[in-house]
Amino acid sequence: MTPPMPPLLGRRQAALGLLASALTLTSCGQPEEEILPYVNKPDGLTPGVSMRFATSLPMNGYARGVLATTYEGRPVKLEGNPRHPASQGATDVFTEAAILSLYDPDRSRSLRQEGRVGTWEGFEAALLPRLAAAEARGGEGVRLLTGRQTSATLLRLIGGLRERFPAMHWHVHEPVAETDARAGARLAFGTPLTVLPRLERARVILALDADPLGPGPEQIMHGRAFAAIRSARRDRPDSLARLYAVEPGFSTTGAKADHRLALAPAGLRDFALALAARLGAGLSAPDLPAPVARFLDAAAQDLEGARGAALVLAGPWAPPEMQALVHWINGRLEAPVDYLPPPPEQPEDLPALAGALRGGAVDTLVILDANPAYDAPADLDFAAALRETEAFTVHLGPWRDETAALCRWHLPQHHPLEDWADLRAPDGTASIAQPLIRPLYATRSAAWLLGLLRGRLSLDSYAAVRETWAAQWPAEAFEATWRRVLHDGVVPESAAQPLPPPAARLPEPPSAPQAGLTLLLRPDPTVWDGRYANNPWLQECPKPLTRQVWGNAALMAPGEAERHGLREGDVVQLHAGGRMLEAPVLPLPGMAAGVVMLSLGYGRRRAGAIGNAFGANAYVLRRGDALWTLPGLRLAPAGRREDILHLQEAHRLEGEAQELLPERPFADFLDHPLEPEPKEPPTSIFKPLEPDAPVAWGMVIDSTLCIGCNACVVACQAENNVPVVGPEEVAKGRDMHWLRIDTYWHGPEAAPRPGFQPVPCMHCETAPCEPVCPVAASVHDAEGLNVQVYNRCIGTRFCQGNCPYKVRRFNFHGYADGQEYANQGEPIVAAHYNPDVTVRSRGVMEKCTYCVQRISAARRQAEKEDRPIAEGEVRTACQSACPSRAIQFGDLRKAEAAVSRLRHEPQHYALLGHLGTRPRTTYLAQARNPNPALEEPEA
């Protein structure tokens, strides 16, 4: 007998058929596609296969080495260059977001003369006669203004300019400058040495209002060092360094400290003096309140006990005397600090230029990529000086910013990813930046402009950089060295040689700060000094601790706000030094009493469609004599309210902070592991996963190491084509980040200890999102990934409702597909998309995929080569971005894999593990290394 014929179409196929019919009836079928091959294919390029190139990006003038992934000459992703000392294979938010700024539709595309489109020939015709006249005068009246320069080529070209114009003045303006740090070094050592703390060699660290783990050119370097000294592992129970922080504001370094003391600037000064006195400075130690004295005793004892590995840090915002005092203390402690020779030339500053502009002493002013019309201290009123000057003003920059608008000529500049350059890392290592794409617009480089000033027409940056290095390398080996340096991304052995530790003089004690309310200005963790304000990824990146997006706020302790009768969102007038600024109030536990903190970089007027008009412009209050600390602050309610936009509110997990992110001394975890033995999994309606699948992907996140820097968040956004939603949508509780960093607050409100917890999808083995999906769009694959099949998803959002971790994100609108925020729908923006990841459309649910495209690429490569996937071959975007190595990803089937070993640490736990979801992403709880002398039982 023949078996009965199966039906022609199964139930499923019938349903799919109907669906497909309905779709094709309402649409026009697939669009015709064209394939455009090369006319002449470049050597070494395979269409569809990505290529990686080493280059460098500037941050405040310093280099961070990156490896850029390009597809057919189109850069789409930046990762850290492991060989570069300032990136060491990791990134920060600014590096990750640079790719989007390359494709920013607001970039300047044309030369402007008095605001109207001009020509390059017209510019040269106007400039050259002036230069000839200036040359005849010996260069009198020629002024150059730049940001901080570490580029050997630009320094050489500027030196060349001096030959033509001996009387030329060169000014440098950087809003986040190291002026005070250099002045402090000069006070202590007699020369303005570069002082580079080496956290990786420290056992006890005291941060006196310093934020080495916060944003800045050295963040990645310090993050790596932090990972080296703070990895709490069972087999190295004593390896944890101890971190103390004393600060008026709240920094990420303070958040990671074992002990933190919030002191207003006056208290901080007393603390530092008392510490110096303890170490034999022969000062009269000020009287400290009892709790502060106790803290000082414990910290000082620890520091002295760890001589040679004890380190005290001061931030770049500390006054020079304080910097010098810290140098002296470090000298006494034989601290692990590298002292590097100072830069050869100390250019003049901005006030000198403003004075010259007002005095009519400027004939020709050339501004290279600096924006003083926005970010100069308010008392200079540089914008007015620039507007009123009769001088021939030229601005070269990638954006037509506030300064460009006030100059007679604006010249569009290459983006750093389009240009040849050379830069130095903070430790002096030189690297050569190569372009990853031909300039998108008719732009020019800084080297070209400096060449033109020198009298060399059409000097290109490639030739200029090669000339610089041809003078340094032996001629016969030049080509080989050049290729090697481009390949590696660093010039070998170019780091500055540390000097023998110089003896530090004990400076005059810092003067006592004025009493009363103080305003602290700090660089912003997402837009820095304002230069990144037009980057939507950074605008929508939640700031550490406050989780604020799309703006800044006046941060103050809850008690301080209460004292002034202010609530969150009340707009307050900040009066300081005769100027006034309005900003919304955001209470932040842990701020010192008597202190208000505001970040720079907001309130821009000519940033572009993204950055304009958000937040309060702190530069309005900044003064030349009070760049970072403004005493005598007066608060007055403005009588209106402004919504402060936060993330996390909409995705808050149910539970106690100690349960969601346990936080204990590491010794406690060793005595009482969180998961003593593997528990029998609760009975489940799910069928078990393939027990003999070749791989079982898993992730372990060490919250002890997480410094909350958000590099992973933006890396995920760049890798996975995650769109921004804009402030209006954020206000509705919507955002699209696949990975978020939750912040939990431990300890008493007066002395909180926040903990950071990055939350991607947990890839639960028994995932609650799966059984509720009516169309099976949320399903498991054999390797343990909980995958979301976008083409099946019909947008019921049941999965989102059923996810206990709240990691699913829904496209309420076509955020990436026709309803983009602001100018994000411009065609050029689409160039940043990763071609290996679907761009999701409206009505579709999405979430973290463990970077399934990277897994797939590794698997296909392994299958082509007939071998298994090697350990470490798949690195997720968040993992490779993380400066402090907090995220590990790999195959749980391999006992020797990092993820498997971490799962046996005593502080290992599963988030909301009691729900029986059996998550593949698990955590190491936050381990501390407290000083027993300072531990008090919590009430």
């Binding site: 019919s21 394939i35 269409p47 569809g48 995958v787 797939s856």
Partner: protein
């Protein structure tokens, strides 16, 4: 009182009801079958190209290797289309004045690519990789049909997900030895099932999760 409806009204009503029911059934049937028809899948559709390139002549006649033009098929997801320079390796010497090749010469002269039109098209949410298939025993003609006989190229297979899954569920019936991948005339031998099973082991193909969604969609 007069009748409102004539006696035929009943019949008309029944006919209309039956007709409506029939219409619904017919509509459903059409909707059900339509996506599997060649009309919807574009199977056997010939695409007009800017240059009347004949695979029959170049492959069937002259015996050019597939990889001469589709050179990245073993390394990349994209098999590759020849740069204009590849065409010109021969056609700078042969048929240099042929009308048919004018677009190729124009492309070289103007430095603008030839806008070929895609024949085998899968939706954007499908991430198909040529290299992993040809490296693991799937031959060109299995998916592209007898290209060496095509004067104009057509889409030989339906390219529906069902069609993909036919092989992903049971690759043994389609796999070839390494030296037969490019063979346009290969047909499965009588003992293909047995050979296929051995080839799965030879290529180390992990068949268990070949139907995972994440294999092709991401």
């Amino acid at each position: 009182m007069a009748q409102h409806f004539p006696p035929s009204a009943d019949t008309i009503l029944r006919a209309v009801l039956a007709g409506a029911a029939l219409f619904v059934v017919a509509l459903l049937a059409v909707l059900l079958v339509r996506p599997y028809t060649a009309y919807s899948t574009s199977q056997d559709r010939i695409v007009e190209q800017p240059v009347q390139f004949s695979h029959a002549h170049h492959v069937g006649g002259l015996g050019l290797d597939c990889r001469y033009c589709h050179e990245s098929v073993e390394e990349s997801a994209f098999a590759g289309l020849p740069p204009t320079h590849t065409c010109m390796t021969c056609h700078s010497q042969l048929w240099t004045n042929a009308e048919m090749l004018a677009p190729v010469r124009r492309s070289l002269g103007e430095g603008k690519p030839i806008p070929w039109r895609r024949v085998n098209q899968v939706p954007d949410f499908v991430y198909f990789d040529h290299s992993v298939h040809v490296k693991n025993g799937v031959g060109c003609s299995t998916c592209h049909g007898p290209v060496h006989t095509m004067q104009q190229t057509w889409q030989d297979k339906p390219l529906t997900m069902q069609w993909c899954l036919d092989c992903h569920r049971d690759p043994a019936q389609f796999l070839r030895p390494e030296d037969k991948i490019l063979d346009m005339n290969w047909t499965p031998p009588a003992d293909q099932e047995e050979r296929g099973r051995r080839l799965i082991q030879h290529y180390l193909i992990e068949t268990k999760n070949l139907t995972d969604c994440s294999r092709c969609h991401r």
